[in-house]
């Protein structure tokens, strides 16, 4: 238990101090802790996998070495002064707690309670948790030198990336047994990290109240908490998608490129690919979005250089994913089920487009179940933000959303599986993957209450 606690604490604290040293605005604690959690889980899962490859399986030496390493890193970054204060100039003015802040605390505490109640009901998660993610973790933990049986083609989706299984197996190694608490803690951590990241980033890019409203909306989405308790990889992926967009948006807000922010954004995108196969497409979508929104505003060379830095950040994790995919994992079912004749026939079948479009429309209207109407009503009441969209990376976020959604759309069009079954089992989860980014983009685009108030005051002034 003590070691289990240390297994998260040491890398988390090291990642937090790294963020602070890096120059991120860690006065906004939820934001830095959120980013640090995602970074720590990503790095430790990659390290665990590398140790599996090298030492099959890792044992006490691994635990001790890793703990010493992260404790050293925490001390190193903790004692170093900040390298730079990247976003200090952008920090929103301090605002005291108001009623809205108290509502957020109430909803947050309640959400965590609901999370535990649901986790108590299904401690091993739902279907994909025990047929894919925790199954793989069990092979790693129990498999000894046969841990690669986790990728047997006789099991379900053996090609799925390993961030979650490696994190769970690593947690069990520290815990000393297969405790159901380990995957539950990871899932809760990702839920809270996503909320913290959303709140903190909106507080910096817009204002604190906007961050509170965004966090409230995310927490009041039932599928967000429920999917967390199912112990699926969709919430971790949603976190990395949001983290990439947030870091990229900060770079846009700075007005000049910051190589550190861009490469960290790329690293988070790489971790998305290490989490789920959809993350692989996400890396491509992020680079494309950067080029699409960058080229009209900057020189071609500047935009290309920016995306090269982004891609370089993603490279270490992408190399790991590539090794796993090329050396260990069998072919993906969606890819293996394609042939020129089959794929072109599916692409030319207009009934599939109609079916997928209707399913998307229905899913969007029912999402939440009232989310689309809440967003619409809120936008009508407060109006758009007065600041130009380019300033805070909103165009990048929207372009990313469109590209990623288009990727999902065509994955359904070309799926070799029964289309109706695939839509029913996957579509809602895909929407949840994008939902935190949708909320982030929405609150970038909509006026803050202060801006709306100012607009009304100015509008009601008598003409001189």
């Amino acid at each position: 238990m003590f070691f289990a606690l240390l297994s998260w604490l040491a890398p988390l604290v090291a990642a937090f101090f790294f963020m602070r040293w890096f120059g991120l605005p860690c006065s906004s604690s939820p934001l830095c802790w959120g980013l640090a959690f995602g970074l720590a889980l990503g790095i430790t899962s990659a390290n665990y996998y590398l140790c599996l490859l090298a030492f099959r399986p890792p044992g006490d030496t691994y635990r001790l070495t890793e703990l010493i390493l992260f404790t050293f890193l925490a001390a190193f970054f903790g004692h170093r002064s900040r390298r730079a204060r990247i976003l200090d100039g952008l920090a929103a003015p301090k605002q005291g707690r108001d009623l809205l802040g108290l509502v957020l605390i109430l909803v947050l505490v309640t959400s965590v309670h609901v999370f535990f109640l649901l986790s108590h009901e299904w401690p091993h998660g739902k279907w994909d948790a025990w047929s894919i993610w925790n199954l793989r973790a069990r092979f790693f933990y129990r498999g000894s030198e046969h841990w690669t049986d986790a990728f047997s083609p006789l099991t379900q989706h053996p090609d799925y990336p390993l961030l979650l299984p490696a994190s769970v197996a690593r947690g069990w190694l520290y815990w000393g047994e297969e405790s159901a608490w380990v995957p539950i803690q990871i899932a809760l951590g990702f839920c809270l990290a996503t909320v913290g990241l959303l709140h903190g980033s909106l507080a910096i890019l817009r204002d604190r109240r906007q961050g509170t409203l965004g966090a409230l909306l995310l927490l009041s989405t039932p599928a967000f908490i429920a999917l967390g308790t199912w112990l699926y990889a969709d919430i971790p992926l949603a976190f990395y998608i949001l983290a990439t967009a947030v870091l990229y948006s900060w770079n846009e807000q700075l007005g000049k490129d910051h190589a550190g922010l861009l490469s960290l954004a790329g690293f988070m995108a790489g971790l998305a690919a290490w989490t789920k196969n959809e993350g692989l497409f996400f890396v491509l979508a992020a680079v494309l979005a950067g080029l699409i929104v960058g080229i009209p505003h900057h020189q071609w060379k500047t935009t290309a250089g920016r995306m090269i830095i982004f891609a370089a950040g993603a490279l270490p994790i992408l190399a790991l994913v590539a090794y796993f995919k090329l050396v260990q994992a069998p072919a993906n079912d969606l890819v293996a089920g394609q042939s020129w004749a089959d794929t072109t026939s599916r692409l030319a079948d207009w009934s599939r487009y109609r079916q997928v479009t209707l399913a998307w429309g229905e899913a969007l209207l029912q999402f939440g179940p009232y989310m689309i109407w809440v967003l619409l009503a809120y936008f009508v009441l407060l109006g758009p933000a007065p600041r130009p969209w380019k300033q805070n990376g909103l165009d990048f976020c929207l372009c990313l959303l469109v590209l990623q959604a288009a990727g999902y759309f065509f994955a359904f069009i070309t799926t070799p599986h029964d289309l109706q079954w695939h839509l029913e089992t996957a579509l809602n989860r895909l929407l949840v993957q994008l939902w935190p980014l949708v909320v982030f983009s929405f609150f970038l685009a909509v006026a803050t209450p202060a801006e709306a108030q100012q607009r009304r005051t100015v509008g009601s002034l008598p003409l001189q």
Binding site: W127, F139, L216
Partner: protein
């Protein structure tokens, strides 16, 4: 603060509190975990299998493909590090049946013989003389 802004922000806060109340209502009553049920049922057969063995899987017929997948994948989950193939073409096959009659019928169909019956519909089978 104007009415529109108060309605928007207050409405969103009220909505989130309402959704939280709804979330409490969706918490299902405590039932037995399917994983715990399978862990108990498969505990003895697990002891008879060598780790890392690849075994087959046979169950009584069902019209529900979701149920068939659940039973196979749940068996795989609880028997790790044994690999459970979803076919009966292996030197050893796990039988997961609802009753002894159904088990006997399926064994005959697949030409398998009983190695050991662990009770509660769980059996270890092997191919018979062809």
């Amino acid at each position: 603060m104007s009415n529109r802004i108060a309605i928007a922000t207050g409405g969103l806060a009220a909505f989130s509190v309402y959704m939280m109340v709804q979330a409490y209502r969706t918490v299902p009553p405590q039932g037995q975990s399917l994983v715990a049920y399978y862990e108990t049922r498969m505990a003895n057969v697990k002891k008879s299998l060598a780790p890392h063995e690849v075994v087959g899987f046979l169950m009584d017929e069902t019209q529900d493909p979701g149920e068939a997948r659940t039973r196979h994948e749940m068996t795989q989950y609880v028997l790790v590090p044994v690999v459970v193939a979803n076919d009966a073409e292996r030197p050893l096959v796990i039988g997961d049946f609802r009753g002894p009659d159904l088990g006997a019928k399926r064994r005959l169909e697949k030409k398998l013989v009983l190695v050991e019956d662990f009770g509660d519909g769980v059996q270890l089978l092997r191919p018979g003389e062809r």
